[in-house]
């Protein structure tokens, strides 16, 4: 039975909107020109490949359903599980279901903690017990090194084959169609990605590639699940931020007078409250509200999802001021220009001037602000979750992963893999987003046009 979580619906809506926007841009040369400049940058193309991989994982994780439980008697009405699963969960079933008892290091065959183990002859010894799943296929642990090496080699070989096939296919189609795009950079990024994914996938069938956490669940699985949370926060926030920022900024700059005064007052007031504190105040109140209306949500997943959505709304409500200020300045400048004055003189209505003359001429600022905000929001999620005003503790996110792993810092030897995994996945995502954002800024900023 399919389940529509609110964020899922919005994510797909956003995908549709982006597709529609891309289609519009491709049909109009003046809209396509800046994007063509963006796609001539090597960094942009390479980072876009990485971002696409992340988005693919996130989208797979945004199709939820409730699995049907096995019927107790034939002919009984179908019963569905309470817990919602996503397509990604299905793909990663082995990772999701193979739980260990507690911590285990990456690729380990034994648990991280000593335990009392019964020997076959009845004696009990304190030792590191074998894992239930990690390396369980090995009869003799001496073969561990050989097995891991073979899996890595196999994964690399498979990746190389897949990569060559993809590159060959692209040569025939994409490269011919758009020869000016630096496909070499895309191929290099794709190759690097595949060389990591190939061995990891093959290793994951027998081991815990990134180890397990305190309750024994696979860290790689958690990291992949966190991607959706990050992407949702980075993108859905803009759904709130954009309308507020655009309406307030353009209206203030265009109408001036008391409208300007009111809007400026509003955003100075909001701006004057330190960001984290404002978010914290909002989220604390949200917590009280959700706790007092616990009956509204059928499942805990739904509740966590509503909280995620509310967090996006709060982030949007508290961060539209920057965009509004930029747009106000630009609209102020534009409204003094001759062609706007001429439009006034011809009796063109305000709505038409705003829609046809002002908005198209500030759109580059909007797009630049959008892509620039994304990486900041992804980083903010981790910090907010640490402060305790982030996503629901039951939602997997980089923030909750770091938060849980932080408590184990003092252990000897240190449990580092959860932290390392969360930081590595986050760093790759944010770096790709930053590089892409830089390219977009260079492509759209009219000052750099030659």
């Amino acid at each position: 039975m399919p389940v529509f979580l609110p964020t899922d619906a919005l994510v797909w809506l956003l995908v549709a909107a982006v597709a529609a926007f891309a289609w519009t841009c491709s049909r109009r040369p003046h809209l396509a020109a800046p994007w063509a400049r963006v796609f001539r940058s090597r960094a942009a193309v390479a980072s876009l490949v990485v971002l696409a991989a992340y988005v693919l994982v996130g989208l797979l994780d945004s199709l939820h359903y409730r699995p049907q439980l096995p019927a107790k008697s034939p002919g009984a009405p179908a019963v569905y599980a309470v817990e919602a699963r996503s397509l990604l969960d299905v793909v990663l079933t082995p990772l999701r279901t193979r739980l260990e008892k507690t911590y285990s290091a990456p690729l380990a065959t034994r648990l991280y903690q000593k335990e009392q183990v019964e020997q076959p002859d009845g004696r009990s010894v304190r030792e590191y017990p074998r894992l239930r799943h990690g390396g369980a296929h090995l009869k003799d642990e001496a073969g561990w090194g050989r097995d891991v090496a073979w899996r890595i080699l196999g994964g690399l070989a498979a990746a190389a084959v897949l990569w060559s096939l993809l590159v060959l296919a692209a040569r025939r189609t994409l490269v011919r169609r758009w020869p000016e795009v630096p496909w070499g950079a895309a191929a290099a990024a794709l190759g690097a990605l595949l060389l990591l994914v190939g061995p990891a996938a093959l290793l994951a069938t027998g081991y815990h590639v990134l180890g397990t956490d305190r309750v024994g669940s696979d860290v790689l699985y958690q990291a992949l699940k966190s991607i959706r949370t990050s992407l949702v926060i980075g993108t859905l926030t803009t759904l709130v931020l954009l309308p507020l920022g655009i309406v307030a900024g353009v209206a203030a700059g265009y109408f001036k007078g008391w409208v300007d005064d009111v809007i400026q007052y509003l955003y100075t007031t909001l701006n004057s409250i330190p960001g984290v504190l404002l978010i914290a105040a909002f989220v604390l109140m949200l917590q009280v509200f959700l706790d007092n209306h616990a009956g509204w949500f059928a499942t805990s997943a739904e509740r966590a999802d509503v909280r995620l959505l509310a967090l996006c709304a709060i982030l949007g409500l508290t961060s539209w001021t920057g965009l509004a200020r930029l747009l106000r300045g630009e609209a102020l400048k534009l409204s003094e220009l001759e062609y706007i004055q001429a439009a006034h003189a011809f009796g063109v209505s305000h709505a038409r001037i705003l829609g046809r003359h002002i908005l198209p001429n500030v759109s580059h600022i909007i797009i630049i602000a959008l892509v620039m905000d994304f990486s900041g929001l992804v980083l903010a999620e981790a910090v907010l979750s640490y402060v305790g005003v982030g996503v629901d503790p039951s939602t997997t996110s980089f923030g909750t992963m770091i938060n849980a792993a932080r408590l184990e810092m003092a252990r000897e030897p240190m449990v580092w893999w959860s932290l390392a995994a969360a930081f590595a996945f986050m760093f790759t995502l944010v770096l790709a987003a930053n590089l892409f954002a830089d390219a977009v800024r260079d492509g759209f900023d009219p000052r750099v046009r030659v």
């Binding site: 105040a281 009280v288 509200f289 981790a382 910090v383 402060v387 305790g388 760093f427």
Partner: protein
């Protein structure tokens, strides 16, 4: 000048009133004091008496804005709005959940916060300007490109990583400084070194890149070309002309955060166990101590407005072209 400052201070009042109304709206209207009491006391099996007692202890048992039972001016003053929101203006912040006076707490916790924030601020600016100047000097060379790429990479690393990584390397592996804690007087030094280093490193990425663009913008101007044309050496052009003029946007950009240094750094303080205002705020958020969060929101906005005022004044001090009116 004085009349300008007076005008700006008067302009700040409506903003503070706005902040005040917003916090009142958030903390008392979206959720009633009853909701907060239930949350604090635990959801299940809370008796109405317990809620009444909780509210009475904290003074939340009054009407929100208008008290019908009282006479005269007390109709308006003996209310939650007056007691809890209006009194913030005279910095009567009330008491925290542990019954300590918030204003008193802020006065003692301010110093550790400053001990951390001021060095991070000053050293950070110096380091960022140095790096940015270096990149601008070697612009469009491999060195500049490496620097920019490094900056973007450093910007992409989470603050939490810098903190955890630094604690692991310097404290756990090399045993150079204690992992966390704080002591008064000169003993504070060894506790503050690591957070300061991490604070500075964490800011290098975005800071240097931003200053680099400022320097490059300045270097494209006509007076720089003139300076070169009259035969000045490049270092002289950089230091005597470009640096001086680029300092104007840099200085005015950083002045706004100076008052906010009092608030401390939320994340660093709580990781390093420094008993400053940042960790105070975080503890309050985690313990859902609404009185403290409300006070910090108000103080934060007061400090921000002071920062805006200082920014405007600093413009006139460093740039003789700007006149206040």
């Amino acid at each position: 000048m004085i009349s300008y400052i007076v005008r700006r201070v008067l302009y700040a009042i409506p903003i503070l009133v706005g902040v005040n109304l917003l916090t009142f709206l958030l903390f008392f209207l979206v959720n009633t004091p009853d909701d907060m009491a239930r949350m604090q006391l635990g959801q299940k099996r809370v008796t109405p008496e317990a809620i009444q007692k909780w509210k009475a202890e904290r003074g939340y048992d009054k009407p929100l804005v208008y008290n019908d039972a009282e006479a005269g001016a007390r109709k308006l003053t003996n209310t939650i709005f007056f007691e809890k929101s209006v009194k913030l203006f005279v910095f009567e912040l009330g008491r925290a959940e542990d019954n300590r006076d918030i204003a008193n707490e802020i006065r003692t916790r301010m110093w550790p916060s400053l001990a951390l924030a001021i060095p991070v601020f000053l050293i950070g600016i110096a380091v960022n300007i140095t790096f940015a100047l270096g990149m601008a000097f070697f612009r469009a060379t491999a060195l500049d490109l490496t620097g920019v790429v490094l900056c973007v990479a450093m910007m992409s690393v989470s603050t939490l990583f810098y903190i955890i990584g630094g604690q692991y390397l310097l404290s756990k592996l090399w045993h150079l400084v204690p992992i966390s804690g704080y002591a008064g007087g000169f003993d504070a030094l060894k506790f503050v070194v690591l957070p300061v280093i991490i604070g500075v490193i964490g800011g290098i990425g975005s800071g240097s890149r931003w200053y680099r663009t400022l320097f490059l913008e300045e270097m494209g101007k006509d007076y720089v070309r003139t300076a070169r044309a009259k035969g000045l050496a490049e270092p002289v052009v950089m230091f005597r002309h470009v640096l001086k003029n680029a300092l104007i946007p840099i200085l005015t950009g950083v002045v706004v955060v100076i008052p906010l240094l009092f608030m401390g750094s939320l994340i660093a303080e709580s990781f390093f166990g420094i008993p400053g205002l940042g960790s105070y705020t975080i503890d309050a958020i985690q313990a859902q101590d609404f009185a403290v969060v409300r006070s910090m929101v108000f103080i934060g906005s007061v400090l921000y407005i002071v920062g805006l005022l200082l920014t405007d004044i600093s413009y006139t001090l460093v740039d003789p072209r700007v006149r206040l009116n």
